[in-house]
């Protein structure tokens, strides 16, 4: 019997623990902790360590392997970014894909500059925000989009990319149609069948010999000669397919739970497919497209970059999304991660947490807001007196969740980007101010936006290019700098300067992280209240999604309602900013000289 020791370092261990008692209603909001533990290694880039994330939480979107507009040192300046999601398809423009050539224990992390000690990197084939029309998938391949056109990707090929790049988490290849809906019954059935089959192939190590015994998860430093093959159990997430048909979604879930045939069982060393799955993914783009087509209201936006119209993101749509998510998850274990891609507003995120117990969201919309010059600025929970002020006015106009910094009103506005959060300097000032301290019992009511735009820091650790360079600096002493102002960013946006977007991305990601912190804090209050109260069975018995409380309402549900009342869920500010951005880009961006010349000759 051959001793085949794994030639790769072991896959990091993914653990997800729910804080909330699992006896609570299946789709109620829950608190959790996710951790990825890396086995110790000798390479400095992979010196043991754990990356931990609390849920509900966030993952950052990337294009072509980078967080748009952020250099690696700016990613370091934004420590709230932990989980980074990488769609692989952009690398398919050459063969073999470049990341597979990186020599490292964690090639994808190293190639893209996301150190394993700080970041969790997940990989999918397709970009979840890419809804453009694609050639149809086949039985054995999915169509992926690279900058040199569509590529057919087979399971073995995808598997080889995973093996070569070693992401922490892998999204299985799925058959999601990207052509105009509605999709026929036959097409949906195919989608279910293929996605299950492709999931199976992810679990199949390439060229795996048959093993006769069920192996435990391998640990580092295996030396035992009695184990014939250490099966590397990847951390796999699966897209929940089934389009907009609840029955189809249930059918896919059933396929995951179906006991495997003996041969299959032997091959993948799993009793069911679901056993090998660590998380469930919901890509909202194709779902929205299908929902809108069904209502035959308008053609959904499949333009790229993805920017849904108002009719695609309102409350009714979110309700449909939540019910589709529940249809998929009804029979599946509650203990696994629920991840939603391209939720398009804080409202939608809150509703999906409330109605479907979603754990993770990508920050696509917040990053896109930065592309268009919007600095996010909102409070959750809504301030106590903010609500009262609103009620007092006759026709309360909803607040926007951010500021379109293109607007003229900001040209002379020398305040920081947010009203809802403080900057570091002001926070310190308030702490030192004794009068304020006594008023607020030494605690500031507002949290800090610690981003590099609102709370920039001088490192006092510059590169020294000659031996006489360092005079006059207290080396290494970090100092707070004044926040970048709305007036400055307004100026940068109008002069087509790219640093505007770098600052706004760092800011928006930080605001989103602060938002999730507050969401967890409110959920914690519900958690604490209900872990002290008596029976939890009521919720289950009545079948309601609400936790037991005075009148069935939870702190969280109340705060979500107040938030919805206060802030516009149509994200008007984003639509307006996009128009401004397009104007400046036309006047100052690529192709401007040609346009000016044409205008001059035409005039």
């Amino acid at each position: 019997m051959s001793t085949a020791r794994s030639s790769f370092p072991p896959v990091p261990t993914l653990e997800f623990q729910l804080k909330s008692p699992s006896v609570w209603p299946k789709f109620s909001p829950r608190l959790g902790q996710l951790s990825v533990t890396r086995p110790g290694h000798d390479t400095p880039e992979n010196r043991g360590g754990k990356v931990e994330l609390l849920t509900p939480g966030l993952m950052a979107s990337t294009t072509r392997g980078v967080i748009p507009h952020l250099t690696r040192d700016n990613v370091r300046r934004t420590p709230c970014v932990k989980w980074v999601h990488v769609p692989f398809e952009s690398f398919l423009q050459v063969d073999p894909p470049i990341p597979t050539l990186q020599k490292s224990s964690y090639p994808l992390h190293t190639f893209l500059g996301f150190p394993p000690a700080q970041h969790l990197v997940s990989l999918s084939l397709r970009d979840p925000a890419d809804g453009r029309e694609m050639p149809p998938n086949g039985k054995l391949f999915a169509a992926a989009h690279s900058s040199r056109g569509a590529r057919k990707v087979t399971c073995p090929a995808y598997r080889s990319y995973i093996t070569a790049t070693r992401p922490d988490i892998v999204f299985s290849m799925s058959d999601i149609p990207f052509n105009s809906p509605p999709h026929s019954q036959k097409r949906i059935s195919k989608s279910i069948e293929r996605s299950a089959q492709w999931l199976m192939s992810i679990f199949t190590p390439p060229n795996a010999p048959l093993v006769t015994e069920f192996q435990d998860r391998p640990t580092a430093g295996l030396a035992s000669e009695s184990i014939s093959l250490a099966i590397q159990r990847l951390n796999v997430f699966v897209h929940m397919v089934g389009g907009i048909q609840p029955a189809a979604r249930s059918a896919f879930a059933a396929a995951l739970l179906e006991p495997l045939e003996p041969k299959e069982k032997q091959l993948v060393q799993l009793a069911t497919l679901d056993e090998g799955v660590s998380g469930y993914v919901f890509d909202l783009v194709p779902i929205r497209v299908a929902l809108v087509a069904e209502r035959a209201e308008t053609t959904a936006s499949t333009r790229h970059p993805y920017h849904p119209s108002l009719s695609e993101v309102n409350g009714t749509v979110t309700e449909s999304l939540a019910s589709l998510i529940r249809a998929s998850l009804q029979d599946l274990p509650v203990t696994k991660l629920r991840l939603v891609n391209t939720a398009y507003s804080p409202h939608e995120m809150l509703r999906l947490i409330r109605d479907a117990g979603v754990d993770l969201f990508d920050t696509y919309w917040a990053q896109q807001a930065a592309n268009w010059g919007v600095a996010l600025d909102f409070r959750f929970p809504v301030a106590p007196d903010q609500g009262r002020k609103q009620a007092a006015t006759e026709q309360p106009k909803k607040y926007q969740v951010g500021h379109n910094l293109y607007e003229q009103q900001f040209a002379h506005d020398f305040t920081r980007l947010t009203d809802s959060l403080l900057d570091d300097l002001e926070y310190s000032k308030r702490q030192n101010d004794s009068a304020a301290a006594s008023l607020h019992s030494g605690k500031s009511e507002l949290a800090i936006c610690s981003c590099a735009a609102c709370s920039p820091t001088w490192s006092n650790d510059p590169l020294l290019h000659s031996t006489s360079d360092d005079t006059g600096i207290e080396l290494g002493k970090r100092e707070s700098a004044s926040p970048y102002t709305r007036a400055y960013i307004h100026h940068l946006l109008h002069t087509h300067e790219m640093s505007a977007h770098a600052l706004l991305v760092m800011h928006n990601l930080t605001v989103m992280d602060a938002f999730m912190c507050e969401v967890r804090a409110v959920l914690q209050r519900d958690h604490d209240l209900n872990s002290h109260s008596g029976s939890h069975g009521q919720g289950m018995a009545t079948g309601s999604n609400a936790l037991p409380g005075a009148n069935g309402a939870t702190f969280f549900a109340t705060e979500v309602a107040r938030f919805e009342q206060m802030y516009d869920d149509g994200l008007q500010v984003l639509a307006e900013a996009k128009v401004c951005w397009a104007e400046v880009d036309l006047a100052r961006g690529k192709g401007r000289l040609a346009r000016e010349r044409a205008k001059a000759s035409g005039a």
Binding site: T71, G472, Y484, A487
Partner: protein, 409 residues
Amino acid sequence: MHFEVLAQCSTTKARISRMVITLLPTFMPVGTQAAIKGLTSQQMEDFGITLILNNTYHLNLRPGLKVLGEAGGAHLFQGWRKNLLTDSGGFQLVSLSQFTKITEDGALFASPFTGEPTLLTPEESISIQHTIGADIIMQLDDVVPSLTTGPRVEEATHRSIRWLDRCIAQHESKGQAKQNLFAIIQGGLDSKLRDICLDEMIKRKQSVAGYAIGGLSGGEAKGDCSSTCIARCTSKLPVDRPRYAMGVGFAEDLLVCVALGVDMADCVFPTRTARFGVALTFTGPLNLRLSRYSHDMDPIDIACPCPACQSGTSRALLHHNIGLETATAHAVTQHNVVFQARLMGAARDAILKGEFPGYLRSFFRTYYGETGYPRWVVDALQSVGVDLLEGIQDPKITNDDGKKWDYAQ
């Protein structure tokens, strides 16, 4: 203004000095519109940069003086706490010449955005620079393209002297002590005119904190022209004033200028070429768009301390993304800014240690050894006592300007 020479190279005319908080010789990156494109002030400071340039003409248009005044000046506006230099708008007379008409009064600009006319007088230029609040401000000079010949050049030379006087008057009556006015020597490529300008402007030495050598970098030939011209200027300019070569950015030009006694220079080249995918190295530029880099897993320069190279950003990744991701333009920009700083930092160390000729020889051997030494570089350095070709068997000499490029193979 605080300026002291710390050490002098015993062979060439190079010296190491301190000007306010900046050590010279140095290269100044250009942040035209109150930002180094794509980068924040924190990043620039972390790269070890202490002096950057902002552009008066552009800042006057956008964001405008009202905003800058309300912000408390350009430093506070862009969050930059080190030194700032503003040029007067003189260069835009040349670069945006289709929009300008020069008179004795000043320059009449038509705004490229609105067509609205603005008269930029020497007084107005200084006044604007006062509001911007840079540590070093430049006189408004009458700039002609360096290849221009004829009476226009003479007119511009004399006018620049008259405009210097008007700038001095404005600055001394309205300005603050912490802002330091530099004069700009004009005269084109005509040595007689340059001498006239030098003599006159040196007479104003007590009212002037430094001298710039302007009107070059307009496409003139390197050898007989710009480096000769610079040598002539530096030989006459007082040693107790910094010398600033305007619009010089290529590595070879910078080092020759330093050897000729220049202390500082600015240019958009390193940052602009970065955005077009060209990374600067000690062996020459890398055009990352070329397919030869598509599988190159090495960083631009393994010894470079910039964040891109330090984190091992591969040429392959840069190649994959250049022109498609702003983050990649920023990464190459960071690298090029740091490259320029390293080039000048090493020069400073060499001058301080009395090893500058050796630095020149070793830099140019790495840079031009394979492709050939341009004659103008050899001659210029010969003129200050450095024999680049010493000890080299069969040196390769070229007669071109020595501008290095990275060609597809």
